[in-house]
């Protein structure tokens, strides 16, 4: 089966590894950092992933705004990651559609359809650090589920207990100095290989964002974290993504992952 992790639930994806059938819990402690991260990222096996999620964006003053999005992901013919996000609410962004296609070894292709423009528009990778549709997630965050483990250098910092789970604490340093973050530190549950927490550091090695995963639920035999909270520390803002519906292996037409679909919302 193809591996597939929901794009927007990047960090959910890491957490989705809980209780994987192939998680060798007894041997995990002896694995090196790279193999732990690989095991974590490869945990979920699904042909496709479809989610309907509610995003609650909380401002510094505590005021909130909400967005409803659909997301479809499926590997391409060359095993590259592909995902489409469709904004359903609020009306200010409704009808906007976003497509990203991974190109191994090269920049991802990204397009967006905005009803106000009436056409599909390519998005530059340089916008990767920009906020994705006003959330605490950047475009890079959104696309980083497809980030190859080869792009970072991984090292095991320590082992510690987090929320009752015995975890590996692994630091990943991007080999590309131009990447948005200088390092990422994640807490991966020893037992299940699920990532429970992720810290993101800017180029000055300052902790800028923290992602936390919760609400684990068995979905079609896959233990799935139903909520992800991303906090931007300096700004005091956060975005919580709560999955209302998730379907694994639901058929998604190939035509969804095309610019033609972005225009009409109809796969051919």
């Amino acid at each position: 089966m193809k591996k597939n992790v929901t794009m927007l639930t990047l960090f959910l994806g890491m957490a989705l590894m809980l209780h994987a059938q192939d998680a060798g819990s007894q041997d995990a402690g002896r694995q090196d950092a790279l193999s732990i991260v690989q095991a974590s990222r490869n945990r979920i096996n699904a042909l496709t992933t479809s989610t309907r999620s509610r995003m609650v964006i909380t401002a510094k003053d505590g005021s909130t705004s909400e967005r409803l999005i659909d997301q479809y992901s499926k590997d391409g013919p060359s095993k590259n990651k592909r995902a489409v996000i469709v904004f359903q609410q609020p009306a200010t962004v409704a009808g906007s559609r976003f497509l990203t296609i991974e190109n191994p070894g090269k920049n991802d292709d990204r397009w967006i359809y905005l009803p106000s423009l009436g056409k599909v528009r390519r998005i530059a990778a340089s916008e990767g650090s920009a906020s994705f549709m006003g959330t605490d997630f950047s475009y890079d965050d959104i696309s980083s589920t497809s980030r190859s483990t080869d792009l970072d250098t991984h090292s095991l910092l320590k082992e510690e207990i987090l929320n009752g789970y015995a975890c590996y604490v692994i630091q990943s340093v991007p080999k590309d100095l131009g990447y948005q973050y200088s390092k990422m530190i994640q807490w991966i549950d020893k037992d299940s290989k699920a990532a429970l927490k992720l810290e993101l550091y800017d180029k000055r090695s300052t902790l800028v964002k923290v992602a936390e995963f919760s609400g684990l639920k068995d979905v079609q035999g896959r233990l799935t974290p139903m909520a992800t909270k991303m906090t931007t520390l300096a700004e005091g803002t956060s975005t919580i993504i709560t999955i209302d519906i998730i379907k694994y292996d639901d058929p998604i037409p190939e035509g969804v992952f095309t610019t033609v679909y972005l225009e009409t919302g109809r796969p051919r």
């Binding site: 479809s50 309907r52 964006i57 401002a59 510094k60 005021s63 705004s65 909400e66 659909d70 479809y72 359903q88 609020p90 009306a91 200010t92 409704a94 190109n103 090269k106 920049n107 292709d109 106000s116 423009l117 009436g118 056409k119 528009r121 390519r122 998005i123 530059a124 990778a125 340089s126 916008e127 650090s129 920009a130 906020s131 549709m133 006003g134 959330t135 605490d136 700004e235 803002t237 209302d244 519906i245 639901d250 058929p251 998604i252 037409p253 190939e254 035509g255 969804v256 992952f257 095309t258 610019t259 033609v260 009409t264 919302g265 109809r266 796969p267 051919r268």
Partner: protein, 519 residues
């Protein structure tokens, strides 16, 4: 006739909306308003179709700075102008969509009862209709029919390939909202999906409408408002040119007085003259085009052919020499007082036919999101010496957007047209519509923006600069969005040469404050 077409389009749209025939449009993913799997099942049985109603309500005021300075010429502010809105209906069946978008404002609703409005004109799209069309999905082919706005080309702001819809220039306060400026046209539009990232489009428009310009008020372009003066000056210039050889030297001393008299007669004639636009509502003015787009590696490319009419009309006067001959004969054969006969003059507005061949390209290179277009326009004046027909010309557009430091985004685009055979253009504006104009027209559009507070606050400044005209239009704005509500404070400043396309509106600089609720 055209009313029946519009009515038919509306009826079809409303019928489809009412019937919402067919099954759910999407056989994967989630239905509309689905939040729980159980609810999804219920919705599937109760609502076997997808129906959406949306729109927006705008409330706001715009103040023209000059009106504050000069109460005598200030325009009336109507209470009804403060509020406007849009109402959109869309329904999706298994193999079809229908969309009806309505513009609701005092002007668009009032027009329906205004007997002097242009509704009887077969090419006129009523203000109230934003779009109204049906779209059928027939395997790899989509067919759209109705009043539609299309966007062709890659450029962000009106590149040369975006040729399908005319624009409404009767209010320049919303010039940055291209889709709002576009006028929906009756058309059949067919799209053939030729792969995941390739498609071939064909469009057919049975009649023609040019750009819409204000006929009176602050947004009336000087090119139209000054027609009497242009005509008078052009004809007198031609009179002087020809009389040198036509009139015996002994009669020349009477010319200055006669010129003054003729000038008065011409002005009187043209001021009372109603310019007749050609009837472009017939099939003779059809337009059609083909466009192919695809993605090759990291590049999006396209090519198109379009056969249409230039959206900007050309103004010339036929019969100038006959008018002068008649005048000369009277001078030679009659004794004063001598009167000219302006009825021999035939002013005409024409929309010239042209063929367009164009290509476009978009790619991200070194963090620059680049878009480019190039087009050749072949008119029916291949020799360049027909004053009633514009010369062939080339057009190109090159632009990019780029994230700068501190989250600032720059979007810059340059458009230029280059007239060919420029040496063949005449120098009298009544005999050659391009006389006295520059061979090139270059417009630079620069936009710098930054968002704050999770995109809730956006500060933006747009500068449209016409290089040859040496004028510009600067539009700063600040918009605050919370969920469905946006409050925006913006301004528009026209500056530069007053004879320029933008600079002529220097009295129309404005400040605008508004609130929009979208639903």
């Amino acid at each position: 006739m055209i009313k029946r077409i519009y009515a038919s389009a509306l009826v079809l749209a409303v019928l489809l909306l009412a019937q919402a025939a067919g099954l759910a449009a999407q056989d994967f993913g989630f239905g509309f308003d689905e939040t729980e799997p159980a609810a999804a099942a219920n919705n599937a049985s109760l609502l076997p179709f997808k129906l959406k109603i949306g729109g927006e309500i705008n409330a706001g005021l715009q103040i023209f700075v000059q009106d504050l300075k000069d109460a005598d010429t200030a325009e009336t502010v109507s209470a009804l102008d403060v509020i406007s809105g849009k109402l959109n209906f869309s329904a999706s069946g298994e193999k079809a969509d229908a969309h009806l978008g309505l513009n609701l404002s005092a002007a668009s609703i009032g027009e329906l009862w205004d007997k002097s409005a242009s509704l009887g004109n077969p090419t006129y799209t009523p203000l109230i209709i934003d779009e109204a069309y049906l779209r059928g999905y027939l395997g790899p082919v989509d067919i759209e029919a109705g009043l539609r706005k299309l966007t062709w080309g890659r450029a962000d702001s009106l590149g040369p390939l975006d040729v399908v819809n005319p624009l409404d220039y009767s209010d320049l306060t919303n010039i940055t909202d291209i889709m709002a400026m576009k006028i929906a046209r009756p058309m059949v539009h067919v799209t053939w999906g030729m792969g995941d990232f390739s498609k071939l489009e064909a469009v057919f428009i049975p009649n023609f409408a040019g750009h819409r310009f204000a006929r009176d008020g602050r947004w009336t372009p000087s090119q139209f408002a000054d027609i009497p003066e242009i005509a008078e000056a052009g004809i007198l210039g031609r009179v002087n040119e020809r009389f040198g050889a036509m009139i015996p030297p002994s009669l020349l001393p009477m010319l200055p007085g006669l010129q003054t008299q003729i000038a008065g007669e011409l002005l009187h004639y043209f001021n009372g003259f109603s310019i007749n636009y050609p009837n472009t509502g017939t099939i003779n003015y059809f337009q059609s085009g083909l466009r192919y787009t695809t993605t090759i590696g990291p590049a999006d490319i396209g090519a198109q052919y379009y056969y249409g009419n230039l959206f900007r009309p050309g103004f010339t006067i036929a019969g100038v020499d006959a008018f002068i001959d008649d005048l000369g004969m009277k001078i030679l054969s009659s004794s004063p007082p001598i009167y000219s006969d302006p009825s021999l003059l035939s002013p005409r507005i024409e929309y010239n036919r042209y063929h367009q061949l164009g290509i476009d390209y978009a790619q991200v290179i070194a963090c620059f999101n680049i878009r480019a277009e190039f087009a050749a326009h072949i008119t029916e004046d291949l020799a360049g010496d027909n004053g009633a027909v514009k010369n062939p010309f080339l057009a190109w557009s090159l632009g990019f957007d780029r994230s700068l430091i501190w989250g600032i985004t720059a979007n810059i685009q340059c458009n230029e047209t280059i007239r060919l055979l420029n040496g063949k253009v005449g120098d009298n504006p009544v005999q050659d519509s391009e006389a006295g104009t520059d061979a090139t027209a270059t417009r630079l559009t620069m936009q710098v923006s930054k968002k704050f507070f999770r995109d809730n606050l956006e500060c933006k400044i747009t500068n449209i600069w016409d290089v040859e005209d040496k004028d510009c239009y600067i539009i700063p704005s600040i918009a605050w969005t919370i969920s469905d509500v946006t409050a925006e404070l913006s301004a528009g400043v026209f500056a530069g040469e007053e004879a320029g396309e933008l600079g002529q509106y220097w009295k129309s600089s404005f400040v605008k404050l508004g609130v929009t609720y979208k639903f």
